[in-house]
Amino acid sequence: MLDEVATDIMITQVSDSLYTQLIKTYGGNLPSSEPHSLDEIRKQAFERFKSAGFPTVKQEDWKYTNVQPLVNRQHYVLDAETLSSDDLSLDKAVIPGLDAYRVVMVDGRYNAKLSTAADIHGLSIMPIDQAFDRLCFAKYFAEYADKTDNPFVALNTALFTSGLFIEVGKNVQLQKPIHVIHVASAMKPLFAQVRNLYVISTFAEAEIIESFITDEGAAHNLNNTVSEVVVRESAKLQHYYLQVAGAQGNYLNHTEVYQEKHSLYNHYNCTFPGAAFVRNNINVRLGDSEVESHLYGVTLTAGNQLVDNHTIVDHREPHCESYEWYKNITQDTSTAVFNGKIFVRPDAQKTNAFQQNNNMLIGEKSAVYTKPQLEIFADDVKCSHGCTIGQFDNEALFYLRARGISEAQARVLLVHAFAFDVTSRFANATVREYVEHLVEQGLKAG
């Protein structure tokens, strides 16, 4: 009897190691800074996390994506400050031919020495903790992301101490893209919580390209990142995610986008062989009429990777248009998950919403879980969705080989062809070329 009780306690402890560690470390001791208006938000968020805990596969949103092995894996270091390496190579993030303002975030911390984006007219870039007293910070921080029931957002809100703040001023059209390079470098297992806020002011136009890389000496790391993006009236943002981190990397990325009238938001979400675990939540709220949003995704997985893209397109007002196309290519024993929710709320008449997800299973033991989910409450709308799962077309493969093209090269051509619907939509040709190259490389690796 006594033995049973002892075992029981042990299991509870093990399965909640990070949870216990967080509660112990921060209970009644949350990060605090001026202005103290943040303190109350943090406190409430921490309570939300405390009662929700880390999600399990019993929850629909996490059915195929088990975070438990990550959160009870080992003791994490919670503060990156003393851990980050100074001697960093950014080679893995280089996009050949790209001329951009560079921002380097090392383990979630802004690195001024490696960044080149200071002092550009109409562009404010700074560590997020320096933006706390800004008007737009007060207006938009935790305004949308924290309305979701993602416990990782609550945890991030309560505990983040670093991140990036970008504000593109009114009417400013940036001459170059902003290339944000997120480097994981800590030599001990780090649980990094990073908070970003990007505000594109009215009539402004910007392009933000984010690369995720891992420094060679880095240990296993878990990154809980929340990015809040506000695209204000008549503003335009092109936003790229290029996930090229190493196998030590595990990412929980929550991206919450809020769009105002006449705005345009294009997101291009690309994941390649490397990071062991990637979960993206990309939520786009079309907050006013005549808004346009495009979500594109290319995921190429290999080894034992798991990549999960959960998206929400939320039509709240009339006369908006959204267009979403995700492609997954799975190799080896990897897993890809796609969940695409589209809400069309009662007021969102004349909505035009399109969604397509195509999957190509290359690895005989690879898996794809896909779920389109449309909830339409308005009656005068045009919505469509489609989903396919397939393999290599052997007829096409033979046709190419019969013309002298090697089997490996033929596979590259066919995967390019498969991804074409998405890659051809890339607004930036340099990034497109780079992504096509990564696809080619990723196929050889697999």
Partner: protein, 254 residues
Amino acid sequence: MLSIRNLHASVEDKQILKGLDLEVKAGEVHAIMGPNGSGKSTLGNVLAGREAYEVTEGEVLLDGKDLLDLSPEDRAREGVFLAFQYPVEIPGVSNINFLKTALNEVRAYKGLPPMEAKEFLSRVKEKQKLVKFDAKLANRSLNEGFSGGEKKRNEIFQLAMLEPKLAILDETDSGLDIDALRIVAGGVNQLRSNDNAFIVITHYQRLLDYIVPDFVHVLYNGRIVRSGTKELALELEEKGYDWIKETVDAEGTV
């Protein structure tokens, strides 16, 4: 150039070719005719190396080299070209990109550097004219949305670009109207030379009015049962395949 001896091949354990012999010399055009199910297309596919076809006996030599040992791509690089009966549509792969890749892989196999962009483009222009292939089609996705005639013309366009030693045309005339047939045949005739050879697989004599063969062979029940000159094709046209079936079956019972 090509020497096929006692070739036996099967698909899904069904024996299709049962001891086929054929000698093709450089500069020659051979027509292979025969009724449905006689093994015509199987011959083309076996030569090109399609995996579903299993060779159970016999040998195929191309200039002394054993073809059956090679992968489909290496056969192509050695100079075998199969013009498909049903060319495959591959959305997202551009015609031009595909041709460039194919051409350069063949060149690399022969130890040649990739072709200069300028030379490649002028060759594309020149060869397009040969089959009146619309430049707009060349820039489109491979065969995507092409009509039957456009697909067949694309096969001949590729043939012209790759300049193989041995070209096998597998029912290239099927699904072509008379104008398209003339264009395709005209292209082939311009490509004939003393260094290459053609095997023209067809069901009908019609194509042979335009591509005049040096030899005509009749394939029946997996073997070549009659060989002759172009007059044999005319005789076939007149008397029909039943004539072959009856005479061959009669011989078989003797």
